[in-house]
């Protein structure tokens, strides 16, 4: 049998994975699974081995789990060289090396980028550094916030009512803490699920004792003489006394280190093809650089080939598996990443799940259950087809709706269902905010540049 380039790569090649979190770890495992015997390097800017993040906004804040003990389970031994606590700072595509913050350069034959996202910080840096002001993304964030909540603050302010902000508010209430949520949009979760569902989420928060203030923004944070936060100033002119502030303004993609590399990377992520191969700035696909997880932005056949960036746990796993498979396969054996977006959240005792891309939907129909009971299934429609679905405490039906999305079933659904109630007899506008108005942001970014961007900020023409 001929000794192919792939055989050589598998036998003695060098694979580098930048990003040592969920996607990076899963990809590394699959790479070994596929028979890769060469050197495998995992680079991560955090000093920890890969850990799981969903518990950080849930069990950890409730004191039911320890942030230090959420290491991701290993599926197999990956025999990797770990470069932890050192960030990647640059990429030389021609020389095939990754530059590290400590000055070292790591050569690769195949590179996987899984650098994910980080929490968007409070825009005023000095205010953001006040004691008692947190974001929540890393394990340290989780430890710090859990400790601050343990100390029994008089009032917690959560800025932004996306999923993370709402989960934090839920944990605070469960611990009996006073909490105010300030949201610029007109309700919680509206970026991801629209105003109809946002209204249900708002009611849920208020019934659980959250001081929810919508249509409002925080203009400034004020510290006391010891440098701890003591109050927040709101856009309606009021001042709120609070001793813990959690900034939940969504996430930023970790792509700055690729500036000037020539890779098609920007604030919306790294563009790649359906097989997870990164594009360069000129729109030409690379063959040795792959992307997976929150930082990737890939076209999806089910959603009009829009480039989707997904901040979803399940997507990180599935995309990492596909990328790793393709890295270790001949071109004819590669497969596309066509995962149907799906996520879950747990807040105020309610299990919220979603599939598809609700934020593409223009209409919603409650096909099962009732919003008043907060147990229901909502189906999103886009141009006469089913494009997404959400369930509140009704997740066991979701598989059916996922199939409806996959087969581009008509909307509104022309059939009846068990548990169809009067308010599910007709579709209503889903009430998504104008995408050019900033909110905490959905967990799905639909296309390369938001209508608010108006220009391609990172585009640099090739040198000629």
């Amino acid at each position: 049998m001929a000794d192919t380039a792939l055989d050589q790569l598998k036998r003695s090649g060098r694979v580098v994975v930048v990003g040592a979190s969920l996607a990076g770890l899963r990809a590394a495992e699959v790479i070994r699974e596929k028979g890769f015997a060469g050197s495998l390097t995992l680079i991560g800017d955090e000093p920890h081995e890969p850990y799981d993040r969903p518990p950080l906004s849930k069990q950890v804040l409730l004191g039911k789990a320890d942030a230090e003990r959420t290491l991701l389970p290993r599926r197999r031994d990956i025999d990797a060289e770990w470069r932890l606590g050192v960030a990647a700072t640059g990429l030389d595509m021609a020389a095939r090396t990754v530059k590290l913050a400590d000055g070292e350069e790591v050569p690769y034959d195949r590179l996987l980028i899984a650098t994910g996202v980080r929490a968007r910080p409070w825009p005023n840096e000095a205010e953001g550094e006040l004691g008692g002001v947190f974001t929540l993304r890393t394990r340290e964030d989780g430890v710090g916030l859990a400790r601050a909540l343990n100390a029994g603050p008089r009032r917690v302010l959560v800025i932004g009512a996306g999923f993370t902000g709402s989960e934090i508010a839920s944990a605070c209430r469960e611990r009996g803490l006073e909490v105010t949520v300030a949201e610029r949009g007109n309700g919680p979760l509206v970026g991801a699920l629209g105003g109809v569902i946002g209204a249900v989420a708002a009611e849920l928060q208020r019934e659980n004792g959250v001081d929810l203030r919508t249509g409002i923004s925080v203009t400034a944070l004020e510290g006391d003489s010891t440098g701890r936060v003591r109050a927040a100033h709101l856009s309606d002119g009021t001042t709120l006394e609070c001793d813990v502030v959690v900034v939940g303004l969504g996430a930023q993609r970790n792509t700055e280190w690729l500036m000037g590399s020539g890779l098609g990377a920007g604030p919306r992520g790294i563009a790649c093809d359906a097989g997870c191969r990164a594009f360069d700035l000129r729109g030409i696909v690379t063959d040795d650089i792959y992307v997976a997880g929150d930082v990737a932005r890939s076209p999806h056949a089910l959603f009009g080939y829009q480039f989707l960036s997904l901040e979803h746990w399940g997507n990180a796993v599935a995309q990492a598996e596909t990328a790793a498979h393709n890295m270790m396969s001949e071109s004819t054996d590669r497969r596309p990443h066509l995962w149907v977006p799906a996520f879950w959240s747990s807040q105020f005792g309610v299990n919220i799940k979603s599939v598809g891309v609700p934020s593409m939907g223009t209409e919603i129909m409650i096909t099962q259950g009732s919003r008043a009971e907060r147990r229901f299934t909502g189906v999103y429609g886009y141009q006469g087809r089913v494009i997404g679905a959400v369930t509140f405490d009704n997740g066991r039906w979701l598989q059916f709706y996922e199939k409806q999305i996959e087969c581009t079933a008509p909307f509104p659904p022309p059939f009846t269902t068990v548990d169809r109630r009067p308010d599910g007899q007709r579709p209503i506008p889903a009430d998504f905010p104008d995408p050019s108005v900033p909110t905490h942001g959905p967990t799905i970014t639909l296309s390369g540049y938001s209508p608010a961007d108006r220009r391609i900020a990172t585009f640099t023409p090739a040198g000629h």
Binding site: R375, R396, W397, L398, Q399, T417, V418
Partner: protein
């Protein structure tokens, strides 16, 4: 396609090994012989239908002409008590199941089942200690039956001394799910009805007493009721209690018996289980795939015309989902007819799926794991005296009526 295959499946002579018939059936994934039910036998179709909100579990949605041979045996039930949540759709199903779950499982009672571990172990130990003549053990009568019945009584809070009464009613009611062609249907229906009435009266008395003097048991907690839902009406409570009682042991008996039969037919696995008790966990999952105690779910009914595999199934038709066939579908499982407790990919249909997936699953799993581990550990050189063993009539709740075994002794 083989005509009359449904009668063959129901026929007692197929009971010991229905799997070749299921294989035949899978060649016609949506089988309909013109008058009877629409029979679904492949894994992916069953799995989707269990999550399909157009499918009802409520017999009241069944058209009068649906022609389901399994629907007949249960008339007596509806007259005595309202349908249990097993046979209801949301929202009624959800409400009742949710209230029943409060004292049973997470989030409100996360430790209930695990807390029963010690009690379960004691019962298993006691039953094995008393197996008697090791040359002739009937594992059903002496072990697989008394174990779960004792357990469900403890869980519900039924006094031990009432167990004999309980057993008689439970037997009769289980038999009602078991169409016996030789019995007089009117007589059988009368007996079923009487048993249900007597059981209902008995439970009503018990519930009344628990309302006044509640304990830690499930009946007390269901009778008192907590949480945002209103409490159950007395009739709902009776239906639920009867459901927990019957479903809470009828299936586990078969799971344990099928399990021991399978282990005795695979002595290498039995030997491994003896050395490696942790194997019990994946082994029970494989068992639920390989020999599921509930072979098929009858009485699913589409609320509208639905299409399955290119066939339109009319609204109101009766549908059967053959779980045991889906579990042996080669398009889903590699070497499906091989019993392999080390199988990695084991998303079986043995406990159903979707909103009606087995309520008692955590308890059933624990009971089977403990029972099989202890039997493997303590029986010295166990062997089958009869293979295949005599089966119960029932094609739905399939399992041996007796499992006669011998062994060289009982280890301490």
């Amino acid at each position: 396609m083989a005509h009359g295959i449904l009668s063959q499946i129901l026929d007692y002579s197929s009971r010991a090994n229905p799997y070749p018939l299921y294989e035949e059936l899978r060649k016609t994934p949506v089988f309909h012989d013109g008058t009877g039910p629409y029979v679904i036998s492949t894994y992916y179709d069953i799995q989707s239908l269990l999550h399909d909100p157009r499918l009802s579990s409520d017999a009241r949605n069944l058209a009068a002409t649906a022609g389901d041979p399994l629907a007949e045996g249960e008339d007596g039930e509806e007259t005595a008590l309202p349908p249990s949540f097993l046979k209801l759709d949301p929202p009624e199903h959800d409400r009742l199941r949710r209230m029943t779950n409060r004292p049973f499982g997470p989030p409100h009672s996360p430790h209930r089942v695990d807390g029963m571990r010690g009690g379960l172990k004691d019962i298993v130990t006691g039953l094995i200690d008393n197996l008697g003549d090791t040359e002739n053990i009937d594992l059903v009568d002496q072990f697989a039956y008394p174990f779960p019945v004792t357990m469900i009584c403890q869980l519900l809070g039924v006094p031990r001394e009432d167990e004999p009464k309980f057993h008689v009613w439970a037997d009769t009611l289980a038999a009602s799910l078991d169409p016996d062609p030789d019995a007089d249907p009117a007589e059988r229906q009368r007996k079923t009805h009487d048993s249900r009435m007597e059981l209902g009266m008995y439970l009503a008395g018990l519930i009344e007493q628990r309302r006044k003097d509640p304990g830690e048991d499930m009946l007390s907690q269901l009778a008192v009721g907590h949480g945002p839902d209103e409490s159950m009406s007395t009739m709902e409570l009776l239906s639920t209690a009867a459901l927990l009682l019957i479903a809470g042991h009828e299936t586990t008996v078969n799971l344990i018996t099928n399990g021991m039969l399978t282990l005795l037919r695979n002595p290498d696995v039995l030997a491994k289980l003896r050395q490696e008790p942790g194997l019990a966990v994946p082994l029970v999952e494989e068992l639920l795939r390989f020999e599921p105690p509930v072979q098929l779910l009858p009485q699913r009914t589409p609320l509208v015309d639905i299409e399955v595999g290119g066939i339109t199934i009319p609204k109101g038709s009766s549908m059967w989902l053959i779980l045991a066939s889906g579990n042996r579908d080669p398009n889903r499982f590699e070497n499906p007819d091989r019993f392999d407790p080390y199988r990695k990919d084991i998303q079986h249909l043995g406990l159903g799926s979707g909103i009606h997936s087995c309520f008692g699953a955590p308890l059933a799993r624990l009971e089977a794991q403990l029972a099989l581990t202890e039997l493997a550990r303590r029986l010295e050189n166990p062997r089958l005296l009869e293979d295949p063993p005599p089966y119960r009539q029932n094609a739905v709740l399939r399992g041996p009526r007796h499992l006669r075994i011998a062994c060289d002794g009982i280890r301490a």
